[in-house]
């Protein structure tokens, strides 16, 4: 089944949880399988939380723009914040020995690992992620 969800939420983690729950419940009904559900949940949560915390710096006046587009067996998710953007290539590697025990900074790595495709716009305030359904 094809469906599309577009939502603009305030920079509020609980709002993000509700939206993520809705997406996961929908995919669960469409038999996406546990591993794919986990991957989508992880990547979407990290993208939205990064937008709230780092992009919008928890400014409740700033919004997070989310689009989830499910087309047959392909799920495309876009998350945009209203911040200045960042360069993902310049982030410290959380798997370096010096960083591995630090209790933060894994979000971008996890999004990359759990998604089939990931890209950022030139400003660095929008991430686009793709996950394909197996089988």
């Amino acid at each position: 089944m094809n469906w599309c969800l577009q939502k603009v939420i305030p920079s509020e983690p609980l709002e993000a949880c509700e939206l993520i729950r809705n997406v996961i419940e929908r995919l669960e009904k469409e038999n996406w399988g546990d591993d794919a559900l986990f991957a989508v949940h992880m990547a979407l949560e990290e993208a939205v939380m990064n937008a709230i915390k780092h992009g919008n710096r928890r400014d409740v006046a700033k919004k997070v723009h989310i689009e989830v587009d499910c087309n047959c067996n392909k799920l495309e998710m876009t998350v945009r914040d209203e911040g200045a953007g960042f360069s993902p290539d310049q982030l410290p590697d959380p798997t370096d020995d010096a960083n591995v025990e630090i209790a933060s900074g894994r979000g971008v790595l996890l999004m990359k690992e759990f998604m089939d495709e990931i890209s950022y716009n030139a400003t660095g305030n929008e991430v686009r992620m793709v996950k394909r359904k197996l089988g």
Binding site: P13, F38, E101
Partner: protein, 140 residues
């Protein structure tokens, strides 16, 4: 929608409170096997920011003041574990290790196992197939 969320959260919290009515914990179930504490997570999806904060406090209360505390974290019930929850495990592990304690993890599904692998946190946390394997490894 907000009302639905409120009732769902209220129902979850009430159920957890009933289940854990004899315990001081809401987010974990605690058992003791010999000198090892076995911790099971109550939530299938460890994602709610408020629950994760509470989970962090409960984990930090597990013998943090004692020496050589051994803890096994059993993931058999867990379907999703957010990176914010992982951060709580890292803090707990550091505190326990500073007092000679050890932590072992067990019974993870493939996706949770991948989460620890991708981040190379499986170097810090030893991951075991079964609860007994984890208990045995902590005696070494």
């Amino acid at each position: 929608m907000a009302e639905q969320r409120f009732y769902r959260l209220a129902r979850t919290h009430l159920t957890n409170r009933l289940v854990n009515s004899m315990s001081k914990y809401e987010c974990i179930k605690l058992e003791t096997r010999g000198n090892t504490k076995i911790v099971k997570f109550v939530d299938e999806r460890v994602m709610d920011p408020e629950r994760i904060e509470l989970l962090g406090k409960e984990l930090l209360s597990l013998g943090i003041e004692e020496e050589n505390t051994r803890v096994v974290l059993d993931f058999s019930h867990v379907r999703f574990f957010s990176s914010a929850a992982i951060n709580k495990l890292i803090v707990m592990e550091k505190r326990l290790r500073a007092r000679g304690g050890k932590v072992g993890l067990c019974q993870m599904n493939n996706a949770v196992r991948d989460l620890f692998g991708f981040t190379q946190l499986d170097i810090i946390f030893r991951i075991h197939e079964s609860e007994q394997d984890a208990i045995d490894a902590l005696q070494e």
